[in-house]
């Protein structure tokens, strides 16, 4: 600070920063990308360790014997499911009651804003069945949840069978200190959402459901089980939840510990851990795993039924059984033991899971990158925005001596340019509001006038508004205040830079992956754009770096990482369905990615677009 109170040295510092601004920014950007990619390199990451004492010191002994019987129950369930043509509610109620549980049902219905084409549903009506195993001598204050979705077709029967088998086995044990809720939810996430909203007596998404009759206090942890074959080769752990929330890392550690103990192959993001970190392949797999996690987290959607629990501060994960062509198989008894072990450890919890990390990335199941290690990558990107803003500030304010500490002040100084800045800001935000609201509101009209389905209508309207927005701001601006001045665009760009910095900073704190991906694409555009660039080239670059295209790249990358590469036309089909899914996730579960992009990121990018077409 002494440096800044000396006008001479201050002048020297600012001149240094303005002179070297571009090289520093380039170095920052490269360093950020390098840092990010370096996080997948094993020597730079930490090994996971169990932080929670209640789960660490003593290994429980697993004795679940009846995997075969669970599979028989699964076959019975499948037969009943086929007979009823949906969820066999009565059979489930009777079976659960026979296992000594307190059984309750909840029916729910939900009309989607527009038909979901990937899952072929529009008017959803279903029933959740859950049984509560009351712990002896516990006052119903805490509980654990084991859930299995009742999926249409022939999938997931084994999960329900194993759930019922575990219920029977757990019932005969005396050591439970927490109630255990066994939940079979229909229509996967919609049913889960209805159940959770019913359990917590909230209604945030406008679902209609019958109130729950039985409860078991505050839920401490939940596991969701997906299993579609009698034997499995590996278990996949899914952590990413709604809005990029993650469960406490101890839950992943617990899963990993029991997989190691029982000799079950376990994966995360479907990638098996490799031991050869020093080879290129080893690093590539780790990088791919981490990139997949980043992409999934950035999408903000729940990647399993567990994802909705996280909103309620319930640590949850989905365990997915995978049957591939590997030789080594694991039977249902071992799987039951694994779940039994995990539940017994969770049962031992004296406090909520809070000891370990909530913000992390996992390059493999036994390695993690904590928030302290990944934040610098984002920080370097955000620094570029601030440096450019400082540069602009100096350029604007060079005649008038104003303190340069006001970097954080978003408000431009009072000058004739205020109105010329406010107008584009207001217009681009109105475009954002239109992008957010119109697609669903105008779907009927679109269907009437164009030969498209409702889903297509919504997506195409969104894309149309997005594209129309490109033509709007600078034209209207020109109509209102005529030709823009040199000072004017600087002011506008300064405002846009600071706005973007704050926006990305907040996003990255909540959902690092989303913030980082947006920063990687938007920061170069924001840093370079001036009205003096060649228009066509600049426009092309800007469009390629816009949030919409970022989604497109992400889909392409995701498919590539999942080893199901797609061609460009396939990718654009996927792009359309991803947009419709994003809108659906927002209305059904309250995912915030769509409103964030539509209401804030897109308008911010429009401001930069406006700068490009200032003259």
């Amino acid at each position: 600070m002494g440096l800044l109170s000396d006008p001479n040295r201050r002048k020297a510092l600012t001149s240094l920063l303005t002179r070297l601004n571009t090289p520093i920014c380039v170095v920052c950007y490269l360093a950020a990308v390098a840092w990010f990619m370096g996080m997948a390199f094993e020597p730079f990451t930490l090994r996971t360790y169990m932080s929670e004492n209640a789960m660490g010191s003593t290994m429980v002994e697993e004795r679940f014997p009846s995997g075969e019987r669970a599979l028989a129950t699964a076959r019975e369930f499948a037969a009943q499911k086929k007979k009823v043509g949906g969820m066999p509610v009565d059979w489930l109620v009777k079976t659960m009651q026979a296992r000594g549980l307190e059984v309750f049902t909840q029916s729910f219905s939900r009309t989607l804003p527009f038909p979901d084409e990937s899952k072929e549903r529009f008017m959803v009506r279903g029933t959740n069945v859950y049984g509560i195993l009351r712990a002896p001598r516990a006052p119903r204050t805490e509980s654990l949840v084991l859930s299995a979705p009742c999926s249409p077709g022939n999938s997931n029967n084994q999960a329900v069978g194993l759930l019922l088998g575990l219920a029977q086995y757990f019932r005969s044990q005396i050591y439970w200190a927490k109630d255990i809720i066994f939940l079979v939810n229909e229509h996967d996430l919609i049913g889960m959402q209805a159940w959770l909203e019913g359990y917590h007596h909230t209604n945030i998404t406008g679902m209609s459901f019958t109130p729950l009759q039985g409860r078991a206090g505050s839920i401490q942890a939940a596991l969701s089980l997906e299993l579609s074959s009698d034997v499995i080769t590996s278990l996949d752990l899914v952590l990413e939840g709604l809005n990029g929330q993650l469960p406490n890392l101890d839950l992943a550690n617990l899963f990993n510990a029991f997989c190691q103990k029982l000799g079950v192959l376990c994966t995360i993001q479907g990638k098996l851990q490799r031991n050869d970190w020093d080879t290129t392949e080893g690093y590539t797999v780790a990088a791919q795993t981490m990139m997949l996690m980043v992409l999934k987290q950035a999408s903000g959607r729940p990647w399993g039924d567990h994802g909705l629990f996280l909103r309620y501060h319930i640590e949850a994960a989905t365990i997915r059984g995978i049957n591939s062509f590997r030789h080594y198989k694991t039977d249902a008894t071992t799987l039951g033991r694994l779940l039994e072990g995990m539940f017994r450890k969770l049962n031992n919890l004296l406090e909520r899971l809070h000891q370990s990390y909530f913000f992390y990335l996992m390059p493999s199941l036994s390695r993690f990158v904590s928030i302290g290690y990944y934040m610098p990558a984002f920080g370097l990107l955000a620094a570029i925005l601030l440096l450019r803003a400082l540069d602009l500030w100096v350029q604007i304010g060079s005649p008038a001596p104003i303190t340069q500490d006001g970097v954080g002040e978003a408000e431009p100084p009072s000058s004739p340019g205020v109105l010329s800045v406010l107008t584009p800001i207001a217009i681009s935000h109105l475009t954002g509001v239109a992008l957010y609201t119109l697609p669903i509101l105008s779907q009927d009209m679109a269907v009437e006038h164009f030969p498209v389905s409702e889903t297509e209508a919504v997506v195409l309207t969104a894309i149309a508004i997005y594209t129309a927005g490109l033509a709007l701001p600078h034209n209207t601006h020109r109509l209102i205040s005529g030709e823009g001045t040199e000072q004017g665009w600087r002011l506008l760009k300064l405002a846009a830079l600071l706005y973007l910095a704050v926006l990305l900073g907040c996003t990255a704190l909540i959902n690092f992956s989303l913030g980082f991906i947006l920063a990687v694409t938007l920061v170069p555009a924001a840093a370079c754009v001036t009205p003096h660039m060649p228009k066509s080239l600049g426009a092309l670059a800007m469009v390629l770096l816009s949030p919409g295209c970022a989604i497109f790249y992400c889909i392409f990358l995701f498919q590539d990482l999942q080893e199901t590469p797609v061609t460009l036309p396939e990718c654009s089909v996927l792009f359309l369905s991803v947009i419709s899914q994003g809108i659906l996730d927002h209305t059904l579960y309250g995912s915030l990615v769509y409103p964030l992009l539509a209401l804030f990121v897109y308008p911010c990018w429009l401001l930069l677009w406006n700068v490009l077409f200032w003259k």
Binding site: L4, S5, R137, E142, S172, H200, T202, G217, L350
Partner: protein
């Protein structure tokens, strides 16, 4: 000092044992005070000879002997106790011959024990022990200081008189009574510890008495009752009326507190058993083996003390001490899915004798569902059946009288055994039950929902709802809504006492009319307070407990609904409902709540302090400096030669350069 007293106590025992052996036929009376009161000067009582201790009191040597030994069992280890027990039983067996020589005095206190076993519809077994001691003395009378205790435990008696307690109810419960599966318990209790006390209306400083009393009881029962303070004590205006004699209505003398977090275990059971006249050595109490009692679904032990009528004319008051213990055994888990039970299976003990000090000792088994023994077999069979209206339902009980030798049969041990033959029918839904939960998510606000179910098909009845919520959940009382059948239900009486931070909890009492066959929902929103960092418990992430809410009601009886029973009874007896059959009192406790409060990350207070201090010291200081200072371009200081020249010029009186 205490050891010294104990040693003196041992000396007394020796003296009296020798006394008993030497002067067996002599009708010797002992000074009760010198025997019982350990505070008496030992030298004086040591000098007491048979002649001197002769008093006009009405108890024989044998009785005093038995009683003394009984009361010292708790003080001197098990070996002594066993010997004492032998001596005891011998004495009592011998006594009939001796007692013919004189008229037995009217007992000032008597003891009853009973065990009720009720097979529940869920397949669980509910065993309820009740031990009652009645002492025909009034502790309140100042001139008649009670210092003689025979069956009534002295530790409690002293507490009662010292703190002028009129009525005391204390319960320790582990687990939650599942009303929907199990029906109503005989003695309801909330999970954790509950204590409510009516003080005598002569007490001047009730709060001080209450505080001391909780600390003393904490010692007696080895429980954390000392955690009861003003922040969890309330004075209910209507929900807890005295159960005994006395017409106390001024709730200033009532204190009620619950500790929902209290965990009940053997350490609480042992002092409780010590209060029994026979300890756990004889009678029904032999069944109380803690490893079995705590291998159950529900465990609740309680002590109730209240004044009752001395006789049927109510010529005076007597103290009744009722010790109860209720256990629910889950035989499904321990019995490989079979519902059959026996005393041995439940308690790993059988009964061999009644407590010799008990005037009545009985085992009741609920056989209501089994009139023609088509559902189960009970062995040994008993011809004695007892029908009573219990909790609004007419029940039939098989009675086993332990004071009769016939009961024990040839094996001299009673092992009740029940074998199920068929499936029992559905249970009648309990007419009143309640549940409670916290709605909402996040750590800022929430909503407490209390659901009260009236399952009666056509009768509405009022209930008293009591909620005591700790201060750190700040209730928004304006959001209180009571709805039944989706219509607003206005309570006819409402008493609300707002909380004071760190001083007292919220108290909300309401009299709500429950429409027939309805669910009444009481909701109130709250805000979670941010506590001071020292106020968090060691495990802050576990959450904070909110005690059960209490619902007290007079519930219309099921008997009145039952048409079949009128067929069996004479017509003249059944037109109007008699009082005890028309409605019955029920107290229902909801589950306690576990609420998470915003919790700081305690693992890094040091980091936070360091960071905050650094930020304040460096950033704030410099910024303040930078913002308040005015900057001026400084004139470069003149060179040395110029300064020297100026000095010379000043001396010369010429203006400087």
């Amino acid at each position: 000092m205490a050891a010294l007293k104990l040693r003196w106590g041992a000396v007394f025992i020796l003296i009296f044992v020798s006394l008993f052996l030497t002067c067996k036929c002599d009708n010797v009376e002992n000074s009760n005070e010198s025997v019982r009161d350990k505070d008496v000067d030992p030298s004086a009582s040591q000098a007491a000879s048979p002649g001197e201790t002769r008093h006009g009191e009405e108890s024989s040597t044998e009785e005093v002997q038995a009683e003394k030994q009984q009361w010292h069992t708790t003080e001197f280890g098990i070996n002594d106790a066993l010997e004492a027990d032998k001596a005891d039983s011998k004495t009592l067996n011998d006594s009939p011959g001796d007692s013919k020589s004189f008229t037995p005095p009217p007992a000032k206190d008597h003891f009853q024990e009973e065990l009720v076993i009720r097979p529940l519809h869920s397949g669980d077994i509910y065993a309820s022990f009740q031990f009652g001691i009645q002492l025909d003395t009034d502790f309140e009378q100042e001139e008649k200081k009670v210092s003689h205790y025979r069956l009534f435990p002295k530790s409690l008696g002293q507490v009662l008189s010292k703190f002028s307690v009129q009525e005391l109810h204390i319960s320790f419960t582990q687990g939650y009574w599942r009303t929907m599966q199990w029906g109503q318990p005989f003695i309801p209790a909330p999970p954790g510890a509950e204590l409510w006390v009516w003080f005598h209306n002569t007490v001047l400083n009730v709060d001080e008495n209450w505080k001391e009393l909780t600390n003393v009881l904490s010692g007696i029962f080895c429980a954390s009752l000392n955690f009861i303070d003003s922040t969890n004590t309330v004075q209910p205006t209507a929900s807890f009326k005295p159960l005994g004699l006395g017409n106390a209505t001024d709730h200033r003398f009532l204190r009620y507190a619950t500790l929902p977090r209290e965990i009940v275990c053997t350490e609480n059971l042992t002092p409780w058993k010590k209060l029994l006249p026979c300890g756990s050595k004889a009678g029904l109490a032999v069944l109380m083996k803690s490893e079995k009692l705590f291998h159950s679904s529900f465990h609740s032990q309680a002590v109730h003390i209240r004044p009752v009528c001395k006789d049927w004319q109510c010529s005076g008051t007597a103290w009744e001490l009722r010790q109860t213990l209720g256990v629910v055994f889950d035989l499904y888990t321990s019995g490989q899915g079979k519902k059959d039970w026996s005393l041995f299976k439940m308690f790993s003990r059988t009964l061999t004798e009644a407590c010799p000090l008990a005037s009545s000792s009985k085992v009741y088994v609920d056989v209501t569902d089994n009139p023609e023994s088509e559902l189960f077999d009970l062995s040994p069979a008993t011809p004695v059946l007892n029908t009573a209206v219990v909790l609004g339902d007419r029940r039939t009980y098989a009675v086993y009288d332990l004071t009769k030798a016939v009961t024990f049969g040839q094996l001299r041990s009673l092992n009740l055994l029940m074998r199920w033959k068929g499936e029992s029918g559905d249970m009648l839904r309990p007419l009143l039950h309640a549940e409670r939960y916290v709605a909402g998510f996040g750590l800022q606000t929430g909503e407490i929902h209390t659901l009260i179910y009236n399952n009666h098909p056509y009768r509405a009845f009022p209930v008293l709802l009591l909620e005591s919520v700790p201060w750190y959940l700040r209730l928004y009382i304006h959001t209180l809504t009571i709805t039944s059948k989706s219509r607003e239900n206005k309570p006819s009486y409402i008493h609300y006492q707002p909380s004071k931070d760190r001083l007292r909890p919220h108290l909300l009492e309401m009299l709500v009319q429950l429409p027939p066959h309805s669910v009444t929902e009481v909701t109130v929103q709250f805000e979670r307070a941010l506590l001071k960092w020292t106020e968090y418990p060691p495990d802050p992430n576990h959450g904070f407990y909110v005690g059960s809410s209490v619902i007290s009601a007079l519930v219309p009886s099921v008997v009145a609904m039952d048409i079949n029973s009128t067929l069996e009874r004479p017509l003249f007896s059944s037109f109007f409902h008699t009082k005890e059959e028309s409605s019955y009192f029920v107290r229902v406790y909801t589950e306690p709540l576990l609420v998470n409060l915003p919790t700081p990350d305690f693992s890094m207070p040091y980091n936070v302090i360091c960071l905050t201090c650094t930020v304040v010291a460096v950033a704030y200081g410099s910024f303040y400096n930078l913002l308040t200072r005015t900057f001026q371009v400084e004139e470069p200081s003149p060179p040395l030669a110029k300064r020297l020249a100026n000095i010379i010029r000043r001396i010369r009186g010429v203006p400087p350069l």
